[in-house]
């Protein structure tokens, strides 16, 4: 049998609808960035950064008098005291690691609870209706309002810190996972129905794979929130290993400006690392087939 192949050009669907023309063509070479491209990407933030550092120096030396300079030490002193002094920097790193561990444990628990709840909510409408209002309520409570309660119940140690992370990061995981599980097209469901797929098969081969883009979007949000939760929790609960929250508190009460700023910079660096990591993970997991992935990392 001979087959005509006239309609077999890659990309740009005949119906003009589904394929993303701006996406790199699969199987082709990756687009190489030229020097001009690189300059366009990196020059603006570098320039702005230089401007900010300049303004910083101006505030430190120009606006603040000698006796008030502790409020904003110049950048090179921050670098010297906060980062290059190993005693200080290792203290910050240790605290950061302790908070990271708390954030990761909290995130893992959130993922487990979130997947479980979203899965049963996707299977039974009644359960979804029952749970959803409480999820929204939980989300609406300001975290600072329940921190005292958490301490009251679980003490002022690691358990409470993890609890804060779970409470703050659970909602996006449930909502996104549920949304994702419900996102498979009707036609695909019909296909599975026609071939007598069981509930479990449908979940495994259709609903969960279809949910992956939404799950990763939720994970990125929740991971960031979990880091915040770990720092906030640590700030309030002083028992056990010292985390970055305790350290921030200590530095600010001792008026140690250099260390304080270094700790703040390292905390935000942690947030950035977490965000980039989950972006990378998303790209690895679904970048090959999902249109929107890879566009923002």
């Amino acid at each position: 049998m001979t087959i005509t192949q006239d309609d077999q050009q890659v990309s740009k669907g005949d119906d003009g609808s589904s394929t993303n023309t701006s996406a790199p063509v699969l199987g082709g070479k990756k687009r190489r960035r030229s020097g001009a491209d690189l300059a366009r990407t990196f020059l603006p933030p570098v320039l702005l950064g230089a401007l900010i550092v300049g303004a910083w120096y101006y505030v430190s030396y120009g606006l603040l008098t000698q006796e008030r300079r502790f409020l904003l030490r110049p950048p090179h002193e921050i670098l010297q005291v906060g980062f290059l002094d190993w005693d200080h920097f290792s203290e910050i790193l240790q605290a950061l690691w302790s908070s990271t561990r708390v954030a990761l444990i909290g995130l893992a628990i959130s993922i487990a609870i979130g997947f479980f709840l979203a899965t049963i909510m996707s299977q039974t409408k009644i359960v979804e209706r029952a749970i959803f209002p409480y999820m929204v309520m939980l989300q609406a409570i300001p975290i600072l309002a329940i921190v005292p309660l958490i301490g009251f119940w679980w003490g002022y140690g690691t358990t409470s810190r993890i609890a804060v992370c779970v409470i703050i990061s659970l909602f996006p995981i449930i909502v996104n996972t549920l949304f994702g599980l419900q996102s498979a097209e009707r036609g695909l469901h019909d296909l599975f129905t026609l071939h007598h797929a069981s509930r479990l098969t449908r979940l495994r081969k259709l609903m969960f794979p279809a949910a992956r883009p939404a799950i990763f979007a939720g994970l990125r949000i929740s991971a960031g929130l979990s880091v915040i939760g770990a720092i906030v929790g640590d700030y309030f609960f002083g028992q056990g290993a010292v985390g970055i929250g305790q350290l921030l508190k200590r530095y600010s009460s001792r008026l140690e400006g250099e260390e304080l700023l270094a700790a703040v910079i390292m905390s935000s660096a942690l947030g950035v690392v977490v965000f980039l990591f989950f972006g990378w993970l998303q790209n690895v997991a679904i970048g090959k087939w999902h249109e929107t992935s890879g566009a923002d990392s």
Partner: protein, 257 residues
């Protein structure tokens, strides 16, 4: 019921593998979609139903496949190995062409080696051999439809239902896909029931064309298509082809008023 005959025979003597018996469909909101439709499709037959949009053609296929339950009448068909080609290609975007084509065999618990073999054969049959590792998003609309056809072919279904599968592709691609579908009909020997609103498509592929009226859908006319298989693309310019198309078109207009 199961198809008693595995060999391809002339349609007149073979028992139907798909039969609608006085099918009635009224939706819960009171809309009467299908009224008293009876028709048979046997092995070696390719029946096409043409009708205006919304006349209940697709409803008929959903009833045949069990996706919908008719409110009256009986359908007889073996649903275990029913081929169903949807309006959309319904490919899973996270699976490659090969893995998509394997899906149905996978759902039917076929061993891995066997289904891979079947999938590769089916992919070759529809001419997508160079694209086994491509994801759907990099395929054209026509190629997606071919992949969808290949997926159904892996089941070697005795009955193939087509729910306006080529409605979304451009005219040239549609003609290519029509050519291939009638070749597949010849080589695979399935019984086909095809839904479309394109008369040219109907006449080109079918052994029989049925005209359905606007809602509620009824079969108002039936035309035997006399051309021999395999049909060449030039058949579309044949005066006889034009005459038959014209007749069907008149019938369709008549039923529309």
């Amino acid at each position: 019921m199961t198809a008693a005959d595995s060999t391809l025979q002339s349609s007149s003597v073979v028992a139907p593998v798909l039969s609608f018996d006085h099918i009635q469909m009224t939706f819960p909101d009171g809309t009467e979609a299908v009224r008293d439709v009876s028709l048979n499709v046997s092995r070696g037959e390719f029946v096409t139903i043409v009708g205006p949009s919304g006349c209940g053609k697709s409803t008929l296929l959903k009833i045949a496949s069990g996706l919908l339950e008719a409110t009256g009448g009986n359908v007889t068909v073996d649903r275990d190995r029913l081929g169903y080609v949807f309006q959309d290609a319904t490919l899973l975007p996270w699976r490659t062409v090969l893995s998509n084509v394997e899906l149905l065999a996978e759902l039917h618990d076929m061993p891995k080696d066997e289904r891979r073999q079947l999938a590769l054969e089916a992919i070759e049959t529809v001419g997508l051999s160079g694209f086994v590792n491509h994801y759907p998003r990099s395929l054209s609309g026509g190629m997606k439809m071919r992949a969808s056809l290949a997926r159904t072919l892996t089941l070697k279904p005795p009955v193939f239902l087509f729910d306006e599968p080529f409605g979304a592709v451009d005219e040239i691609t549609r003609e290519h896909l029509n050519d291939e579908t009638q070749r597949l009909f010849q080589s695979e020997g399935f019984a086909g029931l095809f839904i479309t609103h394109s008369i040219a498509e109907a006449v080109f592929m079918s052994t029989k064309v049925m005209v359905m009226s606007a809602r509620p859908g009824r079969i108002v006319a039936e035309f035997d298509v006399p051309f021999d298989y395999p049909r060449k693309p030039e058949l579309r310019f044949d005066p006889e082809f034009a005459a038959l198309s014209g007749e069907i078109s008149r019938e369709l207009r008549g039923s529309h008023q």
